[in-house]
Symmetry: C3
Subunit: 265 residues, 3 copies
C-alpha cells in the first residue's frame, strides 16, 4: 500500500493543543500517515472561506488522500459529521457546506454519516468532535477501512448547500459576486471561476470598493508597482492584487465584499 | 518497531528557524520519526501555560511517544535539562515545572539529568539548548536509547514544582483559582479540574472579572448567541466562553486572571 | 536509500493553501519524504531575511536534504528558477540571491536552471511557481533524479549576489553592518559573523539606535533583567537582546537598522 496522506483544515489556530491532539489520535490509529496542514487559520466559523481554501489545495494531492476539515460552528448541535468518497479522495467534515467547492471539482460517489461508535474515541466530548469523531474517522479511512463501515449512507443530493458561493447575473453580461478569501499578501480571491479563454480578456470591467479595473493581465509584473491589477489566479479564479502591495489594506475590503463584473460571458 | 513519534512544544514562534533546526537535528539521529507540533506559540517563558497545553494533548498520543518541551527562561543558568519516563511516554524538558500537569496525569517512573555529552551536539551553545541538548536527547530516546544512558538519575521527588497550578480553598465550598490559558477562540480555560459528576452542575457559581455565571451547561449551543457560558471543556477543565464570541476580549481578561467558584465540592 | 528530507522556506504565511498545495505536489512525486517547515513567515519578498533564516537552519539537517526556498518577488518576470548541489545538500530556489549565505557556508558544486518541462507540473501558472516548478523539482531531486537532468547548467559564478549582506569597513577597526533579522523574542540578529575568539570580547563597542553596548557576554543571564546585552548567538552572529524583554520593541528597530561596531578585528 502506498503511504496514507491526511490533510487538515481547521479554524483552530496553531497556539492551542487542538491540532496536536487530533494528530495524536490519527497516529495512534494510522501510524504511517503523512500529515499535511492546509490551514488552521480559517476565520472562526467561516465556512465559505474554508470551502475555498480546501478546494484550492486538494487537486494537488495524490489520489487516495483523506482531507479532514473541522470548521464547525454547529458542534454540539444537530449537524451531522460525514465522510464523502470521490474518484480521487475522501473528505471528512461536518455536513455544513464546507465541501461544496471541492465536490464540485471532484464529485462525490458515496456519502455516510459517521455514526458507528467503534470508529470514534470511547468518550465523545460535547465540544471537540475534531478530536473525538473526525480525526479517528479520517485515520481509519486513510488506513483502509471501507467508507460504508463508518455509518449509515446519506444521499449525496441531501448534503447541505452553501448560499452565495457563485456570482449571480444582474444583466446579460453583468454579474455580482464577492471576495471569497484575502490571502497573506492581501490579494483578493473572488468567486468568479475563469475559463482559459478569459485569462487575457482585456474587455472585462471589475468594480469593487468604488474602484474600476479594466482588463485582465497575465500577472502582477504586467502593471507598475503599487498599481491595482486583475488576473486569473493560481486556483483559476479572478483575483485582484496590488503589485508589491496589499490590495485588502489599500481598498479596505475583507471577505464578503461585493464584486461586480461587466462583460462576463 | 513501531514508528517513533516526537511532539514539540515551545515558545519559539514559527517565524524563525529555531523549530526547523531542532527538527533537522532530530531527523539526523532518528530519520523515521513522525514529528508533531503541539504549539510553538506558548507566550515567551510562560511555564504554567505550557504545562497546561502540553498535558491537554499528550493523552491522545500513542504509547511510546516522546514529548519535547522547550519553554526555558533559565537557559544558560543553573536549571537542569531532564528526561522523565512514565508508563506511556517519555518527556524531555528543562526542570522548571513545565511537566507538572502531564506527570500528575501519567506519573513518572524514572528521571535523569541530560548530562551525557555523547547525546548532545558536539558544540553546545549558551542560548539554544533546544537544538543542542533537548532535540538530540529526544531523538535518541525515540529511536530506542534507554533513558538511563542519557545521564545521572534524579529523584522524582526532587523535580521542581510550580506554584498556583491548582485552586486553593477560601471556605468549605469556595475556591480561588485562575485562568490557565486563553485559546484561539477567546475561550478561558481555568485550573479547576472537573469530575464527570460536576459536568452538569447547575448550582455552581463562577465569578471572574466582575461577572457571575451560574450553572454549568453541556456546550455553547445551550445558551443564546453572544451569552457567557461555563462548561466542562474538552480537557476536563472548567471553561468560560461566549457563544459565537470571544470571552477573553469581552471580559478583558488574560492568563492569570483570578477565578472564584462557589459551591465547588 | 535513507528517508528523503525536504525543508520549506517561504513568505507565504500559513493561512492560505499555498504551502499545503506545494506539499501535495511533493508527496505525489516523492511519497516517503519527510517535510519540514523552516519558516513561512519571511516578510513578503524579504530576500536577505530569508537568506539568513535558511542558512541558520540548514547546517543542522542530515546530508542529502533538499532545501526549497520560495521568496520570489520576481515570479512571472525574467529571474530563473535554479537548483544548486553542494557537498551536503541540494538547494532549490529562484536565482535572486536568497542562497548567498547558505552557499557561503557550504559552497555550490553544480547549478542548473530548472528548464526541463517534464520536471514541472503540466500547466505552469504565471503566479505560483512554488507549486508548479519549485516543488516538483525538489521532490524529484529528493527521490533521486540527478541534478543535471533538470535543466541546463549554469556557471556558479553567474549566480545573483545580494548587496549589503556583510558589514563594510569605516576605519581600521570600525565596521558598519545591519540588523538581518528580528526574532520572535525581539532579539536582533546582525550581519556580523563572529569567530570563537570574539565570543567573549569585552572591548567591542556596539552602536545602534542611539544606544552603545560595551563588551560581549556569554548569554542573557549575564546581565540584569531588562538590560541590553550583546552576545554571539546560536547561529554564530552578533546579536543584541534585552534579558526577559524585547530589544526590537524597546529600541524601535527593525530589519535593515544600521549597526556600527568599534574594536572589530
Amino acid at each position: 500500500m502506498t503511504r496514507p496522506v491526511i490533510t487538515l483544515t481547521t479554524d483552530f489556530g496553531q497556539a492551542d493543543s487542538y491540532v496536536g491532539a487530533m494528530k495524536g489520535v490519527i497516529l495512534g490509529i494510522c501510524p504511517e500517515a503523512a500529515l499535511v496542514d492546509i490551514s488552521h487559520q480559517i476565520r472562526p466559523q467561516a465556512i465559505q472561506q474554508a470551502a475555498y481554501v480546501l478546494a484550492s489545495a486538494t487537486p494537488y494531492f495524490p489520489d487516495g488522500a483523506v482531507h479532514l476539515v473541522v470548521v464547525d460552528p454547529g458542534v454540539g448541535s444537530e449537524r451531522h459529521p460525514i465522510a464523502v468518497q470521490t474518484s480521487r479522495a475522501i473528505y471528512v467534515a461536518p455536513d455544513n457546506g464546507v465541501l461544496n467547492i471541492a465536490l464540485e471539482q471532484d464529485p462525490g460517489r458515496l456519502a455516510v454519516r459517521l455514526t458507528e461508535s467503534r470508529y470514534r474515541l470511547p468518550d465523545v466530548s460535547a465540544t471537540f468532535h475534531g478530536r473525538d469523531i473526525f480525526a479517528p474517522a479520517a485515520a481509519h479511512l486513510a488506513c483502509g477501512t471501507p467508507l460504508h463501515e463508518l455509518g449509515e449512507e446519506l444521499r449525496l443530493a441531501d448534503l447541505i448547500t452553501l448560499p452565495n458561493l457563485k456570482p449571480r447575473p444582474e444583466g446579460s453580461t453583468t454579474w455580482l459576486g464577492q471576495v471569497l478569501h484575502t490571502d497573506h499578501f492581501g490579494n483578493l480571491i473572488t468567486n468568479f471561476q475563469c475559463t482559459s479563454d478569459q485569462a487575457f480578456d482585456d474587455q472585462l470591467s471589475i468594480l469593487l470598493a468604488g474602484e474600476r479595473i479594466v482588463g485582465l493581465k497575465r500577472t502582477f509584473a504586467d502593471v507598475e508597482q503599487e498599481h491595482l491589477v486583475a488576473y486569473v489566479g493560481s486556483s483559476g479564479r479572478l483575483e485582484i492584487a496590488v503589485r508589491e502591495g496589499n490590495a485588502a489594506a489599500l481598498l479596505g475590503v475583507d471577505v464578503g465584499e461585493p464584486v461586480r463584473v461587466e462583460g462576463w460571458s
